[in-house]
Symmetry: C2
Subunit: 355 residues, 2 copies
């Protein structure tokens, strides 16, 4: 069965997203930032972290779980170290402020680590690592999230998909970008399969509610995503939880709510590292060395069944070029959900092309 | 078939390791440090990074590939950022010096990142993260290594097993410790299976020389270890390579030699992060929060087939307690190789118990 799609350009999609947020009484500058972060994920082909999140964001806001005016505040600052409280503001608003601090502190001290508590969902981590990278730094972002993932050998969720993301400064920003959940896939991909009406997901993605591996989308939705490679994925998720939640004094593990957990604030945390590349070597040399490393990797003869070796971020750059030109395809299921959500906040959907 | 083992206490094993290094003309303080790092890995049950490495280290030293007197030097220091050159010194000697700088810089600036080039094999990463942690810091260690791992979709090696390791300060040092290769297993585990005469390894560990997955130890030895979870493991290995090699100006990817590649220096690199916990929250509070998080995770009901949920580092602490008490078991194959190596440097093996 071919999936039913609609196609929309990024600009009207961003305006629509912004209108929905404005309709939910989000101030204009904050609505613009959130909309931008979501549509950027759609442009990169990371639809799990795109506008489909608005279905959850808007509900959460309408239920009064998020303070749409809060921007957070600095709890403590010392050298390159900072604790920031999001004060239950919108995740993107809090992340934006915290990243500005990570950039400022890395420029002042060479290396920075800003850890953030009491925030909400910040969209795709890539948006924030790239923001730090545009400050001339290596940017590393992490967050904890709704407990959906069991620790290895366990059968109940204790961790979120706790992603690790790194972006590079200068022209290297377009050559390599890592943004990975510490599960085999992000939960959003399983939800996307669900909303797109795909009955099966690949093996290794998820377990059912009893902790038994499954490839049935409907079982996976009620179950749990798998930690990457078993105990190592659990170890990485724990590492993220320490840097994000233990260090920040924020909510940990099962204390974290979620955009899909109604009637209470999410209370998630972030960690942002900044590394001032120019203190190590000239940025042009860094770029030249990255180019050489990428060449070394890309000239690897492909394994049987493949015709090319890709580096992290490459598929997303290709998507972005293509989608800037030809528009963003969304599954009809996602689009219909969005229209339902829009009706709750009196936002008018733009015209779209069916494909 | 039950594996033939010998058992030896950590103290005579350390003395034997030190005697072998002294026999290879390594200065006494340096020989002691290398021996300590290897035996500590054996105590923790990480035998792939224990004394069996001496078979390669000693050969490499005897061939003149390592400068046993070099300690390296600071190339540049700026805020929490440092580039260090190992000057082809012993990996442990260089790592020791670089970690001291990482501790000093994190104490001065809150967060530090020391990147190291032109070094040799430093043993298990845990030894170095724990060294930084004993300075009251969160310690994160990474290194690149002999290119043995293909990038995802490729059929020729481009990355080492490029481990990521994090250790915690204070009492937390005994409660959680992550030390993981970005492959499904470290190459040393495949070599250990080989030396122990195990004909089969678990699926997912390795590919043969054509890039096709295999469970036959002899094929795996001639082949390549698999990146953790496919493209994500490749992404993490690439991240490590950037922080370790692109940033340090050192050897990258196929430019790196190896302890098993004779007649040329290894030229590997390290990265050491230090994070001064006390700038974020009091260390006692950090410990109390870690205790709570560990409790939250360990009280997860076990999945079918398991009776307990373990956190990272826990199996190694149990091994260490047991091996401090009852001695270190080594496979007879490993022990016989060691005795052969010892004869090259006129070191006298201690008496051992066969089991």
């Amino acid at each position: 069965m071919r999936e039913s799609l609609i196609v929309i350009s990024h600009e009207p999609l961003r305006e629509f997203a912004q209108a929905m947020l404005l309709g939910a009484k989000v101030p204009e500058d904050k609505a613009r930032l959130v909309a931008e972060s979501l549509v950027e994920a759609n442009l990169r082909g990371v639809d799990s972290h795109g506008v489909q999140l608005l279905n959850f964001y808007i509900d959460h806001i309408l239920m009064g779980c998020v303070d749409v005016h809060a921007e957070g505040h600095v709890v403590s600052e010392s050298g390159g170290a900072m604790v920031y409280s999001g004060d239950n503001g919108l995740g993107q608003v809090v992340a934006h402020a915290a990243c500005e601090h990570a950039i400022r502190l890395a420029k002042a001290h060479g290396v920075s680590l800003v850890t953030v508590r009491e925030a909400n969902h910040f969209g795709a981590a890539a948006f924030w690592s790239q923001k730090i990278a545009r400050g001339g730094l290596i940017g590393i972002s992490m967050c904890n999230a709704t407990p959906l993932v069991p620790p290895w050998q366990g059968r109940e969720p204790r961790f979120g998909t706790n992603p690790i993301c790194m972006a590079l400064p200068g022209a290297a920003d377009r050559s390599w970008l890592l943004d990975m959940a510490t599960t085999t896939v992000a939960m959003g991909k399983i939800f996307k399969a669900h909303f797109s009406g795909q009955p099966e997901i690949p093996p290794g993605w998820a377990m059912d509610s009893q902790g038994v591996p499954t490839t049935r989308t409907e079982e996976a939705i009620k179950g749990m995503p798998m930690p990457l490679g078993g105990y190592k994925g659990s170890g990485l998720a724990f590492m993220v939880e320490i840097l994000v939640a233990v260090l920040s004094g924020g909510a940990m593990s099962t204390e974290v709510g979620g955009i899909r957990i109604r009637s209470r604030p999410m209370r998630c945390g972030f960690a942002f590292f900044g590394v001032d590349v120019s203190r190590y070597l000239p940025i042009e040399e860094f770029q030249a060395r990255m180019d050489r490393l990428i060449e070394l990797v890309k000239n690897t003869p492909p394994a049987p069944g493949y015709h090319e070796v890709l580096v992290a971020g490459e598929p997303e750059w290709r998507n972005k070029e293509e989608r800037l030109r030809n528009g963003i395809p969304l599954s009809k299921g996602v689009w219909e959900e969005l229209i339902k959500t829009a009706s709750k906040v009196n936002a008018v959907p733009p015209a779209v092309v069916e494909r």
